[in-house]
């Protein structure tokens, strides 16, 4: 729906959602069946390639963090293979770094798993935000792509899809770039040990914020964005000071969505 309405702004987009629903009637795509009418969202090599290339410079910067993670993992006693395995299968930087900080001799397994869950729960919201485009894709493609979702390539993918290109494979391609650099840099960091300095001295710690600022510039839809964004900003900033971990992302997103649900019809 949002793909067709990107020229509209403000409350009209809600209206066009409604009218579009009326036009199409019952949708066959909800079960994920690959109907030939799968509008303009594709899943092709072209999208994988575009995602990979667009994400390369970002992935290179994220590699700075992978090195930091590898160093940290090495210091708490993980072998290179174990650190690489974690990066290859978990692929969620913040949760990995925190998990490794919790690493101790009798492994606090429950604490580690609960923390990982809490930090990564925001991905549920991010994934759900892709549904307007991913509804046209087969389930296996959706879930396979989502394995490779991290903050940065989610942001790049949202940018790509809201621009209306309809490249459904963009998340997969950008995710593969992230995965390669994340795993590779983890190995480098774990091998190098303490010899590598602090990533903040190269500005790598700012990449996530920079990607998200760039995305915010593109997601701004004018006045209709103002209220949800202010709600998200206020709730997340307050929650960040009151609640540990990364719950603030989830709380900010949910608060904005709730307010929009209440305002709807108004």
């Amino acid at each position: 729906m949002a793909i067709d309405t990107d020229a509209s702004d403000g409350p009209e987009s809600v209206l066009s959602d409604v009218s579009e629903r009326g036009d199409e009637g019952p949708q066959a795509s909800e079960s994920g069946s690959d109907a030939p009418s799968a509008e303009s969202v594709t899943f092709e090599w072209d999208g994988v390639r575009a995602g990979f290339l667009t994400c390369l410079p970002v992935a290179l910067g994220v590699g700075g963090y992978g090195i930091a993670f590898g160093v940290l993992a090495n210091q708490v006693g993980l072998s290179v293979a174990e650190a690489a395995l974690m990066s290859a299968t978990v692929l969620a930087g913040a949760s990995q770094i925190v998990a490794v900080e919790l690493w101790a001799d009798p492994l606090p397994v429950a604490a580690i798993l609960v923390t990982v869950f809490a930090i990564n729960l925001r991905y549920s919201l991010m994934g759900a935000a892709l549904q307007p485009w991913f509804r046209h894709l087969r389930s296996s493609r959706v879930y396979g792509s989502l394995f490779f979702m991290a903050d940065e390539n989610w942001a790049l993918t949202m940018r790509e899809l809201t621009s209306g290109s309809g490249r459904g494979a963009f998340l997969l391609g950008s995710g593969i770039a992230m995965w390669l650099f994340w795993v590779g840099s983890t190995i480098v960091g774990a091998l190098a040990g303490e010899t590598v300095g602090d990533p903040t001295q190269y500005g790598f710690d700012f990449i996530l914020a920079a990607v998200f600022v760039a995305l915010a510039a593109e997601l701004w839809e004018g006045r209709s964005s103002l209220v949800p964004w202010l709600v998200a900003l206020a709730v997340s900033v307050v929650a960040a000071t009151l609640v540990p971990g990364r719950w603030y992302i989830l709380l900010g997103g949910l608060a904005a969505a709730s307010v929009e649900v209440i305002r709807y019809d108004g």
């Binding site: 809600v14 549920s124 994934g127 949202m158 760039a214 992302i249």
Partner: protein
Amino acid sequence: MAEPNPPSTVLTVFELPADAFALDSFVVAVILAMAAITVLTKVGGIWLVRHVELSDRLEAGFSVLPGAIVIAVLGPELAAGGPAEWGAAGLVLLVMWRTESILLALCAGVGGIVALRAVL
């Protein structure tokens, strides 16, 4: 069948990554459990909205999620920073506005943050 050396002496003296390829089965199990939980979080949200019929009202709520999440990530991040972070964020915004190139915007942001941190 030589007895294995007590590994502690070797490790404590040299700290070689001799165990670089060691995979402790318990550690591997914990890592795979972390991976499973993470996959659940990545897939769970969209699974839900693919299987539950959303009302128009709920869809309106979902439609503001992308921007709201971006702001919820950024807000506390920038609030925790200082003038250097704010200046670099403004630089990203400016370059993005002018060029619409994410690459240029990122370069400006990272270059800007390094420069501003050195100056401020």
